[in-house]
């Protein structure tokens, strides 16, 4: 470890889950995660990729500090200002779009100018509407605006672009990349979409079935975001082959 590092600023995300289990309805213990180790350098962008139902959301919740009930260790990067986009928008139905975003702001940040962010996300004309009046796409964009608005140094995204149309999803991906480049944000994205992960991340973590652990970890060469579609496609193909191999090795074990 480099001693010169200040504790808050450039600390990496370190997550070690020795075991995480749930009690199922009939009282049996179900192991969801076992022996998972994940390290993400400060300011880098990691993607968790895995089959649905493998416990990605569980891992994300633990990383967010929302679930202390696991065996292991968590060290979050930065000063701990967290931006999070859940799989569902999770907006307050009784507050307007703008209030939903502003309520999440930390006190010292409360009156920050958000006009640009709202414009970029196409929310400008919907600020006074209530979530029930929004389409799912707009609600998701509000949730993304909320995560960006707090000026996070740790950003967790749980399938944030699912069910958006492709044009908007692409635009939001670009915005997200721009934001994470501008500020030093450590980002962890959960997705089942390999192409999306390759486009955006600089480190990929492939997850196994339950009990989940990492079967393959791959650092991608920079620059993130600037990869052409050919490069993305070829990396994706290469990854698929590697993951298939790793999965077979895992099954034999």
């Amino acid at each position: 470890m480099n001693d010169a590092q200040t504790a808050g600023d450039a600390a990496p995300l370190e997550l070690r889950i020795a075991a995480k289990s749930f009690l199922s309805a009939d009282g049996a213990r179900v192991d969801v995660v076992r022996d998972l180790q994940l390290r993400l350098e400060a300011g880098s962008f990691g993607a968790l990729i895995g089959p649905s139902g493998c416990g990605k959301t569980t891992i994300l919740k633990i990383a967010a500090g929302l679930d202390p009930d696991f065996r292991g260790q968590l060290r979050t990067p930065g000063s701990g200002r967290l931006g999070i986009v859940f799989q569902e928008p999770r907006l307050l139905p009784w507050r307007t779009v703008e209030d939903n975003v502003r309520l999440a702001l930390p006190a010292d940040h409360a009156n920050v100018e958000l006009g640009d962010l709202f414009e970029i996300l196409g929310l400008g004309s919907h600020l006074t509407r209530y979530p029930a009046e929004l389409s799912l796409g707009l609600a998701r964009r509000t949730a993304i605006a909320r995560a960006f608005a707090v000026g996070p140094d740790f950003l967790l995204l749980d399938e944030p672009f699912v069910s958006l149309d492709e044009a908007i999803a692409n635009r939001l991906r670009e915005e997200l990349l721009a934001l994470t480049a501008r500020a030093k944000v450590t980002t962890l994205l959960v997705t089942h979409d390999l192409t999306e992960a390759v486009e955006m991340a600089d480190r990929l973590f492939f997850l196994s079935d339950r009990p989940t652990h990492i079967i393959l970890e791959k650092a991608l060469p920079p620059p993130r975001g600037g990869r052409s579609s050919d490069v993305v496609a070829s990396i994706s193909d290469e990854m698929r082959a590697l993951v298939a191999q790793a999965a077979i090795a895992h099954a034999k074990r």
Partner: protein
């Protein structure tokens, strides 16, 4: 609204017809009652007695709502607390209103504190039961969101908890208001020298049906006015975010 008015007019008409047919001192007609109300309003007697009762209603209602909401919320959020407090709640729920009133008067004395407390304690368990359901129904996903974004405690209560509890608060205050004012009359009948309940008690010993009816009607009207001018607008305000039917 129009149907409601017609229905009320019909009720008064039936009353007038029956009273005219019976011609009994035990059922005065609407006109007699109206005259009695006017007389007592002019002397200031009626407004004074109503104000006494209304003050007691307000005080015990506020106490019961605040304590009941806090206790109900705590019971809905903590299973352990619920396990300990639930037997007390059951005892309180099944304690006859009259017994609580008598205990309060005997232990505290025949004074205002005892009267208000007795009514509040009578109302309390109902508030607790409703608010406990409300606290159990709080959305855990929004809770997680608030935790992740580190909502301050006050902001969490104001923006997260209270809006979710609002329908339960509205339900318990509507049912509560009617329970409270009925019990206040009993409390006044037993141990207070003023208020609508006291007047009804002395009118009863004189068989003064006109007085009983005129005071009862005035108070019912007053509660209706409070209901439609205070409770219902508050409820509408709390629900304005719900999608209106197209």
């Amino acid at each position: 609204m129009l149907q409601r008015t017609y229905s009320l007019i019909a009720l008064i008409a039936i009353w007038a017809v029956v009273a005219a047919l019976l011609q009994s001192r035990l059922l005065p007609g609407p006109l007699t009652i109206g005259a009695a109300i006017l007389t007592d309003t002019r002397t200031g007697e009626l407004p004074f007695q109503m104000a006494c009762t209304l003050g007691r209603v307000a005080a015990s209602f506020v106490i019961a709502m605040i304590l009941g909401t806090i206790a109900g919320y705590a019971m809905g959020r903590s299973k352990t607390f619920d396990r300990y407090a639930d037997p007390w709640l059951v005892v309180l729920l099944n304690m006859p209103a009259l017994v609580i009133i008598l205990f309060a008067y005997i232990w505290i004395g025949l004074d205002e504190t005892a009267a208000i407390l007795a009514v509040a304690v009578n109302k309390l368990p109902n508030v607790v039961v409703v608010m406990r359901e409300g606290a159990r129904a709080l959305d855990p996903e929004l809770d997680e969101m608030a935790k992740a974004y580190q909502f301050a405690r006050f902001s969490r209560i104001r923006n997260l908890v209270l809006p979710q509890l609002a329908p339960y608060l509205a339900a318990s205050s509507r049912s509560g208001l009617s329970i409270v004012w009925k019990i206040v009359l009993v409390v006044e009948l037993i141990g207070r020298p003023n208020g609508v309940g006291f007047v009804l008690g002395s009118a009863f010993s004189l068989f003064d049906m006109a007085k009983i009816l005129s005071y009862a009607i005035c108070f019912i009207v007053l509660m209706l006015v409070i209901e439609s001018l205070v409770v219902q607008p508050l409820e509408r305000r709390a629900n304005r975010w719900r999608r209106r039917p197209a």
